[in-house]
């Protein structure tokens, strides 16, 4: 029988994570996702967006003012975002931090998420962008990602698994 993979909640991660976001970002542009529901509730400054590509571009607009805006999205939103990321942050050499959920990895998750669960990390890597694993390193992954994004002007993703902060 195939072993079921379970992602465990990172201790105190939700509070520390929201504090980190509030302290280090001027705003958060997000498209809702169930993995991030509790986190989004705790973040003070945030703007809901209709599509992930627009969240990316709004964040880029704030970066032109030398302000930092976090982007939060579901992994399927990566599909919509690629051209925006390449045409803004990548093209103009600016740093960006994106929290992305990795839905579709657990056996009980719905079929429509499965493909995205299989390809998200591979896709980020194949695009030449960097990702850090929240499941592996917790808040350290976020801090590392933040430094790479804004000290080296890179597009950086922090990948969250279901269970890390939502359950």
């Amino acid at each position: 029988m195939k072993k079921t993979k379970i992602f465990y909640k990172k201790r105190s991660s939700l509070i520390l994570l929201s504090q980190f976001v509030d302290k280090n970002f001027n705003n958060t542009f997000y498209v809702p996702d169930s993995i991030f529901t509790k986190l989004i509730k705790k973040i003070s400054k945030k703007t809901i967006c209709t599509r992930e590509n627009h969240a990316i571009s709004m964040s880029f607009g704030s970066k032109l003012l030398e302000k930092k805006s976090l982007v939060i999205m579901q992994n399927s939103g990566l599909g919509l975002s690629i051209d925006s990321i390449i045409g803004t942050f990548h093209l103009y050499s600016e740093g960006c931090l994106i929290f992305i959920s990795n839905r579709g990895r657990l056996p009980w998750e719905e079929i429509q998420h499965k493909k995205w669960g299989r390809i998200t990390k591979k896709l980020i890597k194949s695009l030449g962008f960097i990702f850090f694993d929240f499941n592996k390193d917790g808040l350290k992954a976020v801090k590392k990602g933040y430094n790479v994004a804004f000290k080296k002007n890179k597009v950086v993703f922090i990948v969250f698994e279901r269970g890390n902060i939502d359950e």
């Binding site: 209709t50 571009s57 709004m58 880029f60 607009g61 032109l64 003012l65 390449i86 045409g87 050499s93």
Partner: protein, 156 residues
Amino acid sequence: MNRISAIKNITNQNPNSAIIISNGLSSREANYFINNNRTFYMLHAMGEALSIGMGMAMLNKKLRVVVIDGDYNAIMGSASWHNLTACKNLKYFILSNRLSQTTGSQKVPSLSVPTKFKKYINIISIKGKKFSTPNPESPTKIKNKFKNWLKINNKI
């Protein structure tokens, strides 16, 4: 009115505003014929000019932002119109000729603006041929000139 006259008029009527111009002919012609430091010339990312402008407008309420879009770009970015209500310091202009001129003048769908957004969106009809203009300057040059203007004018 042709495209470049429309852009010149908008630029002159908004002398202290930061301007975002969408990629394609709008950006190319504006960069070639006007080229000022307070304009961010987009090179790519169809449909994202308004979102960039809104990101700026939301993060600095004292900054005046003008976004100039082509009609096809505007249709692509229309899902973002919902955020316009949070951007009182932004003016949005759409240059409409119902053509995708940069790719061979294909006819594009007509632009339909829902009533709730009409007060935020200014549509200007344009006519005339396209000018053969080169790609705008390098992305780094465009960004640095724009950021310098923002800094010099205490917008950052």
